[in-house]
Amino acid sequence: MKTERGEEMKKRLRLNGENLLVLTTNYRSIILLVILSVYAQIATNGLFFNIDNLLSVTRQISVSLIICIGFTLVIACGGFDLSVSSILGLTSCVYVIISKLLPLPLTIILTLAAGGLCGLCNGLLIEGFGVSPFIITFASGGIFRGIAELITNGKTVGEISEGMRYFGRGTWFGALPVSFAIALIFAVAGACLMRKTLYGRFIIATGGNRKSAAVSGIKVKLISISTYVIMGFCIAAASVMYVGRVAVAHASTGTGIDTTVYAAVLIGGTSVRGGRATMLGTLCGCLLMGVMNNMFTFMEVGSYLQRIVLSAIIVIAVVFDLKSDKYFTKMKK
């Protein structure tokens, strides 16, 4: 028996064509990240791994990383959210406006609550009426953006306190940006939630096969709604970092960040059909987006072309995900 297991392990460790394909598929975001980092280092004449540059990359990805954590849960559970940027716009405006009336800790709590409430609305509408998350979150995005415009009167709100700036500009241990450190804490918490808790397994089960999950006693609607609430909470936390960095908020804040978030999560290995997710993959996907953005800036690639490339990445990641799933299912048979 022992020898059989040993043989099996040896077989799995052997680097043949089949194993290589599985490895490349499973670790695609890490492999791509390394290839792109090496290419960026060469293309920028050795400036990419400059410590200043690496720190600026971490500062730039903090906001999208926190959002990606929440988005991974939503996708893993078989949902989707098109209202990401609108919630970011709304919570940023709420954060700045209420900061003028209340002390900072209370302001942050209320902002997180506002984000959670947005997510709760999305979740309740999706699960309550059984409507596609694409339709509901597309419409709710318009509502959230409208509310942001209403409360700001369409104007930019600013004049934030030093305490608020700390989240976007402060450093720990002399160099590590606070925003990135907090984003990493979110990533670790997200990974623990997915791998170590029953709740994480319920999310995967719900996303993988909703009917089977329901039959086995999982409250699928509750699990699904909770992922949207966590998503809203994560976006609100990201808005605290965003405002700390940019110092102002506007109803249009966050426009365009959704493309980066979708691309990062999907390229990170989370299945667009739900039932499979990895926080390490999401982290790598997010870093990959940051590296690519940085490289584009160095290579003087215009923002229009960047948008085309990002959108193309989403298409490629989704197609790759579907095709590889089909291939491996066929191979197992």
């Binding site: 392990m9 799995r12 460790l13 490895l23 670790y27 890490i30 492999i31 390394v34 980092s37 090496v38 280092q41 060469i42 004449n45 050795g46 400036l47 791994f49 400059n50 200043d52 540059n53 600026s56 500062r59 730039q60 930019t156 600013g158 004049e159 934030i160 700036r165 976007g168 500009r169 965003y242 960095r245 940019v246 110092a247 102002v248 953005n293 940085n294 800036t297 160095f298 923002s303």
Partner: protein, 323 residues
């Protein structure tokens, strides 16, 4: 265990690739800005003006044999990102036309930390952050308002029967452009005009405002605008209403090359232009002076404002192209 071992091996392999690439590329030297003066400029893309100013700065820098790194940003977040990238390239001086004077503080702090001299263009940060930049080069918006007032005075002097009935279209309420309005009122000796409206640099809003004024204040004979874009709207609304433009004075500010037709066609009578070449030369000279250790405690106002009408607009742009 097997899975763990495989993951560990992959990570080690990938880490080795990164370390190797860092070692290899660190031997290669960057090919820019090593011996030449390098100026980095971060510009907003709010209008035609920043683009023409950027082109003029590039021309000026290259003409002096220097290097230029420039980026246009559409929002505050992108401008921050651009400046972070510029800092890594270590230019001699960084010049910034901020999109938002609050958002730019972080970028100014990073520039300061990197020990690179910094020039702010047109928009300044609060006084408490004055130690974060080394020079402030600003368009003389007061002079622009004063020149508009001179035009009005001249127009009134041409016919003694004329009386001033002024309508003023404000672009925005920020302290950078308000001197345009304040100087005009001060020179004309008026506290409040017949009508004043905020139209947020929008031609459509200027049309709507003029249409309302035509009903409520039909006696208005001078329409002064903070920008040409609004002057165009005023002219369009008056033409649509069948008003004779010969009896009315319309004034704008900007005079960008792309909008000179409004002067030639007589839609707008006068505009105050900004000679971006003079601005660019002042910005470049200030940058060079900063690298020599000179300090600038006072705001630098380039002598670049010029009054344009249908008579001199062609001559003015021809002279710009000649130089």
């Amino acid at each position: 265990m097997c899975e763990y071992k495989r993951t560990k091996n992959i990570f080690c392999l990938l880490l080795a690739v990164i370390v190797l690439s860092v070692n290899v590329t660190s031997c290669v030297k960057a090919d820019y800005g090593e011996d030449k003066f390098t100026l980095a400029v971060s510009m907003d893309v709010s209008d035609v003006l920043p683009v023409s100013l950027m082109e003029a700065i590039e021309e000026e820098t290259l003409a002096h044999g220097g290097n230029i790194i420039y980026k246009y940003a559409g929002n505050a977040e992108n401008q921050l990102r651009d400046i972070e990238y510029m800092i890594v390239k270590k230019p001699d001086v960084i010049a910034v036309r901020p999109i938002n004077t609050e958002s730019i503080i972080l970028a100014l702090e990073l520039i300061k930390d990197a020990g690179i001299p910094c020039i702010l263009i047109d928009y300044c940060v609060d006084d408490e952050y004055s130690d974060l930049y080394d020079a402030f080069v600003c368009e003389d918006t007061y002079e622009e308002g004063r020149l508009q007032a001179e035009c009005i005075k001249q127009w009134l002097d041409e016919d003694e029967t004329r009386e001033l009935h002024l309508g003023y279209l404000v672009g925005s309420n920020n302290e950078y452009v308000l001197p345009r309005r304040d100087a005009l009122y001060e020179e004309l000796g008026i506290e409040t005009p017949e009508a004043e409206e905020f139209t947020s640099w929008s031609s459509a809003q200027a049309i709507a405002t003029t249409e309302i004024w035509l009903q409520r204040y039909p006696e208005i004979n001078v329409y002064a605008c903070m920008g040409d874009i609004m002057a165009m709207g005023v002219a369009q609304a008056l033409s649509s209403a069948g008003r004779n433009l010969d009896d009315i004075l319309i004034l704008g500010i900007d005079g960008c090359a792309g909008r000179i037709n409004i002067l030639k066609s007589g839609e707008v009578d006068f505009t105050v232009a900004r000679n971006v070449k003079i601005d660019a030369a002042d910005i470049y000279n200030t940058a060079v002076a900063l690298t020599r250790g000179e300090t600038f405690s006072e705001t630098i106002y380039p002598d670049s404002t010029v009054l344009l009408s249908a008579e001199n607009v062609d001559e003015y742009y021809a002279s710009l192209n000649e130089n």
